[in-house]
Structure formats: C-alpha cells, structure tokens
Amino acid sequence: MEKLINEFSVGLFFWQTLLFLVLLFLLKKYAWKPILNAVNEREKSIEDALNKAEEAKKEMAELKSANEDLLKEARVERDEMLKEARTLKDKIIAEAKTKANEDAERIVASARESIQHEKMAAVTELKNQVAVLSIEIAEKILKQELSSEAKQSSMISSVVDDIQLN
C-alpha cells in the first residue's frame, strides 16, 4: 500500500484525467454519436425492410387467394352460362322442329285441298265436254235417221207408240 501511494504521481494523474476527459468529450462528439446513430439507423432500416418484405409476402398471398377465388367464381359462372346456353339451344331447336312440322303439315294440307279442287274442276269440264259431244252425236244421228219422210214417219209412230196415254 505504501509502495502504491509512493508510486502515485499527481502530475500523471492530472494529465491522465485531463487527457481522458478531453478524449471522452471529443470521441462522444465526433465518433460515438455518429457511429451509434449510423448503426441504429442501419439496424432500423434492416428491420423495416424485413417487415416490409413480410408484409409484401402476406399481401401477395392474399392477392393470390383472392385471384384464386375470383378464378373459381368465374369458372362456376362460365359453367352456369354454358349450361344455360345448352338448354336454350335445345329448347330453340325443339321449338323450331315443332314449328317446321306444323308448317309442313299445313302446306301439305292446303296442297291436297287445291289438288282436290282442280280435280273437281277437271271432272266437271270433262262432263260438260262429254255432254256437248253426246248432243252433237245425237244431232248427227238424228239428222241421218230423219233424212227421209218414211223414216220420219216411222219415227214419229214409234215415239207415239211409246207414249202411252194414260
């Protein structure tokens, strides 16, 4: 202990204290503050970046799931639409078919009718022609039969004979 006290130098203590305090002050101002600030800032920016990345990842996942939902919905909608379209098509085709059938039948019926008419008209005309020809034939035959007086008188007598007076 005595040796230590003997060794103690006031001058060295004075200079050491002075120099150390000056060094402390200078380092605080020019080194420690900027260094610790820079390190803190960097640590903060790294943390921020990590947080942001995490957030972006979450957002991406959300977006993806939303997209998938949307896709699923769209698919369902498309299926529904297709189904609807198919039924509509079937319906339209069926309707068209019935209509076509009906039309065809109507056309056939009217054709048949008009044929019937034409036939009737043709028959009537034929009958008339036959009648006219029969009269002409009858005229000619009569003209021939009644060319002589005898014949005319026999004729008359036969007709008269035929006529029975009742």
Binding site: L4, E7, F8, S9, V10, G11, L12, F13, F14, W15, Q16, T17, L19, F20, L21, V22, L23, L24, L26, L27, K28, Y30, A31, W32, K33, P34, I35, L36, A38, V39, R42, S45
Partner: protein, 355 residues
C-alpha cells in the same frame, strides 16, 4: 486513409514485439552483473520516466531516445527539457532554482545537488509540484490522438455508405459488442444510452494503451497506479452522480431484511461503494504490471542462460506469453468496462420486487 496506415503500423509493431524487445536488450555482460542489471531494467521500465528512453547501448553508455518537457510549479512555472538532467546524473537549473531527479522523482536541491535523508533513507528535500510531460503522459497523448483519428475516420465513413471503412469493419463489431454484451445486459435498455460514450471510451482507451504496452517502445501506462486511479475515480463519480433513489436505499436501509440487519448491512454496503472502484483500480494496475514483469523477466532470462537450448525454450515461452498478454490486454479492457457497466446498472436499477 491516414488512420488506416497508423492502424497497420500498430499491428505490425505488435507482431514483431518479441524479436525487437530482444534486439533492444542485446548486451553481453558478465553473468552476475547481468542479473542485477535485468532487475534494474525491469524496475526502471515499470516506473514512469522523464524522457522517452528506447534503449541504452551500455558498452558505450549512450542512451537512445528523446527528452520530454519538464513542467514544475515552484513559486512560479518552470519549464525545461528533461535533457537538462542528463538521465538523472546532473542537477538542472531553472530560474535560479536547482532540481535533481532521484528515484524517478524531482527534488529541489542546491547547486551541488545535495540530497538530505532521514534515518529510513527517505529524501527530505522539498518536492515541487510536478506536471511534467512524462513518458506515460506523452504516450497517453499519442494514443488518445491515435484513437481519436481512427474513430473519427470510422464515424465519417458512415456518411458515404452504410458499410464503414476498413477500420470500421474491424471496430464496429467491438462497438456493438460493448453495446450489446456489456452495456445493455448490465444497465438495461432504458438507461444504457447515456453511459455508452464513457463505456466505449474507457474500453478502447484501456485496450489501446494495453496493446501499446506490448510494443517494444517500452510504454507502461496502465501499469501506473495514477492512471488506473483516474479511470476508477471517473467510474466512481459517474456511478454516484447518476444513481437513483433505490441505489441509496439499498445501501443505507436495505429493504426486505430485519431492522437489526439493516444496521449491520449499512456500513458494509457503504464500504462496498468505495471498495468496488478500488478493486477496479488495483486489478488493472496489477494485471498489467505483472504481465510486464513476467515478459521482461523471461526476456532477461534469455541473457542469463548461455545455453542455446534454454534460450530457444525461453524464446518460445516469451512468444507464447506475448500472445497471452495480447489476450490479457483485451480481457482487462473488457473486465474494466464490464464491471463499470455493472456498477452503473446498480446505480440506475429500479427494484420492483423487494428481495
């Protein structure tokens, strides 16, 4: 860029320590006188000096080194270079007063340099107030400048990018180490910020000073009790002046123990307040002094033994211990900072649960 060069130079000096130390001691002597000479050299090295002595060529008696300014206050300021003492052999005259160096202390004497001694052999001459720029003061100045330049450059490099310069790449993990492993665990997230400047300064100061102590320049700063006393005193003062109510309560009126025990604990706790920084002071001083003594003794043994096998063995041992001392240099800086942080933590701790 300049700081980088200085840092490289320092590293280089550290690496070549053992070989240069040996080279500087290379003096062939008679064995008996060699031993006492080594002892003298070691004692001389451990003490502060008034000139920056590098080595002495004892065959010609020439000292290599440079003088440093002597600043004395003795009814007026006396400033002269230490070369006036001629390595303690001459009496220095300044403004009509005469001074002589005896056992590394300056005494006021007459023109002949007479020293009067009492029965115990203590010099009774008057001692002027001595504020000389001694070897240790000069070293502290240089090292402080070096630390300042290195760390200012390091801090500046952050302005350019998030990644620091070469010095910063090496030092940043250490700065973060002090923050994350020393300050935060011992002081707590809430209060640690105001202590960071002191903790970082004390850590790097002690570490750099310890490292320069391992260079062949023969600097021994932290082996001076005045230096460690100054550091411990600052720790002590900061602890007391930033302490909270709880700190004093735990010293004078320990909660959670019976009243008679409180009276017993108070003086013990109060004593502890002073013992803690005292232990800090002694630990650093003793460790560094011991390291220097052991290393120098081993280097000395190289000259005591004439046997080449023994010399080789001691060379290896010196190299090994130099590396151990490199670790000790860091360890002591760490322990000092760590305990300082622990005391700060005790001063600002808020006890929710009373034990």
């Amino acid at each position: 860029m300049q700081g980088k060069k200085i840092f490289k130079l320092l590293l280089f000096l550290l690496l070549i320590t053992p070989s240069l130390t040996i080279a500087s001691e290379e003096v062939v002597k008679e064995e008996s006188s060699v031993k006492s000479e080594i002892k003298q050299d070691i004692m001389h090295h451990l003490q502060d000096a008034y000139d920056f002595h590098l080595f002495t060529d004892k065959t010609t008696g020439t000292h290599y080194g440079f003088p440093l300014p002597i600043i004395l206050w003795d009814n007026g300021l006396h400033v002269f270079m230490s070369s006036k003492f001629h390595h303690g052999e001459a009496v220095a005259e300044s403004k009509g007063n005469y001074y002589k160096v005896y056992h590394n202390k300056i005494y006021k004497t007459d023109a002949e340099g007479t020293l009067s001694k009492d029965e115990d052999g203590h010099v009774t001459n008057a001692k002027p107030l001595d504020f000389s720029i001694t070897k240790s003061v000069f070293s502290v100045m240089l090292i402080s400048l070096l630390i300042f330049l290195l760390f200012r450059g390091f801090a500046k490099s952050y302005k350019k990018s998030h990644i620091p310069n070469a010095v910063g790449k090496f030092m940043e993990p250490l700065v973060l180490f002090v923050r994350d492993e020393i300050a935060i665990p011992n002081i707590g997230e809430k209060h640690y910020k105001k202590y960071m400047s002191y903790l970082l300064t004390v850590f790097f100061f002690i570490w750099f000073v310890n490292l320069t102590g391992l260079t062949p320049l023969g600097i021994n700063v932290t082996g001076n009790i005045a230096v460690t006393f100054c550091l411990a005193l600052i720790t002590f003062l900061i602890t007391q002046f930033t302490s909270k109510k709880d700190y004093w309560k735990h010293i004078f009126w320990m909660p959670g123990v019976p009243v008679p025990m409180k009276f017993v604990l108070a003086p013990i706790e109060l004593l502890g307040v002073f013992i803690k920084p005292f232990a800090l002071m002694i630990r650093l001083y003793a460790n560094i002094s011991a390291g220097h003594i052991v290393l120098m003794s081993l280097v000395g043994l190289l000259f005591v033994f004439q046997n080449w096998f023994a010399r080789g063995a001691f060379l290896g041992l010196t190299l090994f211990l130099s590396i151990i001392e490199l670790l000790v240099a860091f360890l002591q800086a760490y322990i000092f900072t760590m305990l300082t942080a622990l005391y700060f933590g005790g001063a600002v701790a808020e006890h929710d649960d009373h034990h």
